[in-house]
Amino acid sequence: MRNQPVSVQYPSGSTQNGGDTSVTGGGRDDGPSNVRPSTERPKNPHQRAGWVRGHQKDGGGYAKEMPKLITAGAFARARSAEVRAMLKAVTVTTGSSHVCGALPKHMRRRAMSHNTKRLPRRLRDVANRMAGSKKKKEQAKSKSRKARRRHGNLLLEFNRRQRKNMWLETHIWHAKRFHMVKKWGYCLGDRPTYKCYRPCYRAMSGHCLLQDLSYYCCIELQGEEDKLLASLSQLTSKEAGPTFAAALSLSGRRQGSVMVYKAGQYPSQPLGPVTFLWRPRTQGSTHRQLWIWAHPIIKKDLLLELQTVCQCCEAVVPPVVPVVTPAEVVPTLGPEPEPKPEKNPETKQITGTKRKRSCKDASGPPAKKILGDGTRSPTTPVTWKSSSTGIVINDLTMEIVRYRLIGPQSHSVLAETLEAATDCDVRIMEINKSQSSSLWWPEHCKDESKMNLHQQQADVYHILKGIYSTGELPPGTVLGLTVDDPRLTLPTKKVKALPCEHAVCVCCGFVSEVDEEKRKELMLRGVSEHCCQSYLWEQSVRDNVTDNKISEQELNRMRSEVLVPGSRLSPTPLQGRVPILLVHQPGKQVGHEMSSWGAGWDLLLPKGWGMAFWVPLVYRGVRIGGLNMSLKHSQNKGAPHFPHDYPDCFAGVHFQEEQETELLDKFKRRPPAKRTNYIKHGCLAPFRCPWQQLAEEWELILREGGEDRKGDGQTGTATEADTEMEEEVTSHRDITVTKPPSRITVLRNTKSLRLLSGWCKPTTSKGQRHCRVRELPPLDRSATTSFLTAHGMSLVWVRLSLLSKGKPELHAMVCVPTAEDLQLLKKGPGSSGPQEPPHRDHFKSRIKRRKKGPKKAATSSLSSKTEGKESNPPSGSEPNPTTSEDPKSSPKSSSDRIFGLWPDPLPSVTSHCSRLTLGWVTQGDFSLSAGCGDALGFVSVAGLLNTLVNQPMEHRGMLLLRNPASLHYRFAKINIEV
C-alpha cells in the first residue's frame, strides 16, 4: 500500500479512480468506494491527461495526510482494473515495434532482423509469421541468378533499363569499368573506376586515348547545294570564322566547325558549336548531302531552327508536328528494310528470339524506342521535307557510331586495327552471281570504277601508315574507306600499337623515292576529293551492313573450324566489309605553344558495329576516357568546352544552374562549422558566375567614370584614367544609354579577337617570350572606345597562366592588380602576390539571432547598431562607394539563408574586394602540359580594355587570380589565343 507510486497517475477512465482516491485523493465519485469523499479534488487543477511525474508544486499532486481506512473490496476491484489496463498496454504492440522489441536492448542483434534463427526460440514463431508475408513477395520478384542471366531474360532486363535513358553500343563495356552518369537522355561513362588521371594525359600526349562519342547527334540535310547554303547562311556569320560555305569543307575534303546562331540573330542568341561534313560531289549533280554533328543538348533547338530556315515542316510520317525531345533518337527512314516499330515490341515479348536479332537489339534499335518520359510513338517523324526548297532533313541520331581517338599515335592504332577490305575472290563472286547476293560488297566488287576508287583509298590509307604523328596531317582531313571486320585480326593478347616499321624505314631513308613523294603530297595537299567518298553516306548500304553483321557466336564457330587454331579466317567472310569514314581532328590550333596537342582521328561506323570495332581498338593498348577526359582534353587545348563554357548559350546557362545546385548541395552537406565561409573570403558567388551583372557593372563603371573615385589614392592608375576617359565616353553616352540593357554575348568576331589578343601582348605561358604579332593600331583611349561601342556587353574567352605558384580552381576570380601590386611584381617574378584583407561576416550574427527566436525582440535594437558598424570594415579597403549598398541588401532576412554564403541579391560584384573583379575562371587546374597553373575563363571586354589601357607597357596583360576559398592573389598572364 505504502509502496504505491504516489506521484504517478494513470488517468484513463475508471482504472484510476479506485486506487487514487485513497492515496492522492484525486478520485472522482466512485460509488462503491465512497469512503472518503475527496475534498482536495477541486483544488487540483493539474489533472493532466498523461503521465505526470514528480512533485507538483501548485498542486494537489498528492495528499499530505495518509488515509485512515480502506475498504478492501473496493480497493481490490479498482486495482484489478488497473492491472488489466496495464497488461493490455503491454501486450498490444504499437505499429513500429518488431519482435526484437520484445528483447532487452543488450540482447538485440542487427542480424536478427533478417535471420529469425538468431532470435530466442520463444520469439521465433512470431518473427516467422511477421516475416513470412515479406519473403513470399521477394521470392516472386527475383529469379535465380542463372535464370536472370539467361540471354533472353537479360535482354528484356536491359531493354527495360534503356527505357528512360539511351544506352550507347558500348554501354555494357563501360558500365563494368566506369562511373556512369545519366545525362542528356543517355547513360554515359563519366570517369573510370580506376585511377587514371595522369595515364590518360600521357595517352593523349604520347599515345592514344579512345572515347565513345556516339551520343553526339547527327542531322542529315539533303538538297540542292545553293539552296542549302542559302538557308544555312542565316545560322552563321562570316565574322566568326569559316562557315558552312568554306570552300575546302564544301568540297568534302575537310570537316568544318561553326558556331550556330538562331536565324539572323548573329551576335546574340547562339545555339552552340557544331561540326559538319559535306559529302563530296558526285559528277554532274548539284544534289548535296550534309551531316551536322551537334551535342544532344542543343539538338532540339537546332532541329527546329533548321526546319525554319529550310522551310521543312512537312514531316514524312505525318501525325505529330516536329516537337522532338532531345532524348529522341530515331531512324525510321522511309526505305528502311525492317521497319523498327514493328520489330521492337515483338522482340520484347518473345524472349526466345533469334540470337542475331537479339544481339542487334541489345545494341542499336531498342534504344530508339524510348523517350525521356515514356515510350515514343513509332510514328514520330524523323524526316522532314520541304516542298518549296526541296531540302530533306533527316534525324540520324544513334544511326552512326562515332569513336574519337586522341593522341599522336592514334593513326598507328587505326593502322593496326583496320585493314582495307580485301576484294572478293572471283570464284566466290561467281557463286554470288547466281544468288544475286543481298550483300553490298560483292555487288561493289563487280563494278570496276568502284573497285578503282577503293584501290585508291586503300593506297592513301597505306601511305597514312607511314607518317609518324597525327599532328603532321592537314587538320580536318577526311578519308573514306572500306575495311575488313576488325574482329578477324584481333590479337590474342593486348598489345601496344607502335608506329609501324614503315614509319621507321621512312626516317631511315630506306623507303623508295616514290613512297616518299606520295607521303609529301599527302601532307601538303591532303586527301584528294574523290577519296573522301564513302559508302557510309548511303542509307541502304548502312542498313545492309548493319543487318548482315556476323554475330559473335557465329564468328567463334567459324574460328573453331579453322584447321590451325589461332590462324586467320580465310577467305574473309563476305559480310565482313564495313564502310567507314575517318575524320581527322585538329589538335590545339590557337596560341603559340603546344600546337597540335591532342590531335586525333574520329572513326565513323554504321550502327550495330560499335562493339566489333571497340574491342579490337582496346586491344591495341589505348586508354579509354570518359566525359571528364573530354573536359581535360579541351582544357589542355585551350578551347571552350560545350556546354560548360558557353555562358551566352541557353545550354550553357542551363548547365550553370545545374552546376550551382550541385555545388550548393555539396556545400550544404558539410556541417556549418566545417564549411568555408565565403563571405569572410570576400567571395560573392562561389558556385556560379553572374556574368550579366558583371558586364552591366563594368558598363556602368566606364560610363560613370571616375567621379566617385576622385581623390582616392588607392587605385591611382585606374582613377586617373577613368576621369580622363569619361570625357570621351560621354560622347558615346547617348549611344550606350539609349541601348536597352542587352544580354551578354561572347566575343567571337575573329578580327576583334585578334586585335584584343595583340593588345594583350601574347606571350607563351609564364610570360617567358613575347611572340611577334602583326602591326596593330596602338592601344589608346580612342581605340578602346570605338572597340567598346561595338562590343560593349561582351565577354571574352581568355587563358591565364600563373607566373609562379598556385593552382586555380573553378570560379576563381580574375582581378585587376593595383599599381602597388605591379611594383611588387617588379622586384622579382617569383613574388607571391598580394593578400586580400579578410572580410567580416555580418550575416553570421543574424543567422544566430534567428535561431534564438524569442530573444529577437530584445536584440533587434542592437542589430541596427551592429549593422552600421560591420558594414564599414570591408569597405574601408575598397575605394568605391558601391559597398555601401551591402547593408541595404542584408536586412532582407530570408529564411533560407545559408551560413557562409552571400544571400541572393548580390552587391556589386566588381568592387566587392580590394581589387576590381574582371571575370571568373570556368576551367582551372594545374596544367600538365604547361607545367604551371593554368586557367580558362571569361573576362568582361570593357573591364579588360580599361585595365590594359591603364597598365604600364612592361606589365601589360598582368592580372591577379584568387581562388574562392583563399585570400591570396596570384599573378597571372593573360593570353587571348586566336
Binding site: 570564322g241 599522336p408 609518324y468 587538320p475 608506329p499 609529301k520 600546337s595
Partner: protein, 151 residues
Amino acid sequence: MTEPRNPGMSSVPQTAPVHTDSSSAAVEMDPVEYTLRKRLPRKLPKRRNDVYVNMKTDFRAQLARCQKLLEGGGHREICVHGLGLAINRAINIALQLQASSQGVLQLAANTSTVELVDDLEPEDPDEAGEPMTRTRNNSAIHIKVFYPDPQ
C-alpha cells in the same frame, strides 16, 4: 633530306624554334588575307639516348638530362638534336658536356635540312577559296656526344 642520316636522326624540337624564322616569310604572303598556322615538324622515332633540345625548357634542366644519360643512364653515346633557333643551344649543351667531362667526351656534329609545312588559311574563306600549304626548309644539327672506344 640531302644526306643519308643515321637512324633516328632528325629534328623534333618543340614548335618554339620554328616560329622565329617563319614570321619573316609570312610577311610576304600578304598577312591581311591569310592566317599562318604552322604544323608540327615531322616527328621521328626516338631512342632512349636521343635528346631533342628546345627553347622552352630551362637550359640547365636539359643539360642535367644529358649528363644523367651519360653518367647514370649508362649510355656510351647520346645524340643531341636541335632545329632552327635551338641549334645554338644544342651546340652549347654539347660543349658544356665536353667541358665538364674534362675532355673525355668527344663530339661529332652533323647538319641536315628539315622540311617544315605551313598552312595558310584565308581569313575570308568563302571568297578566297583554296587555303594554301607550303613547305620551307630549316636547318638542324645532330651532335653525337660519346666516350671514345679504348683502343
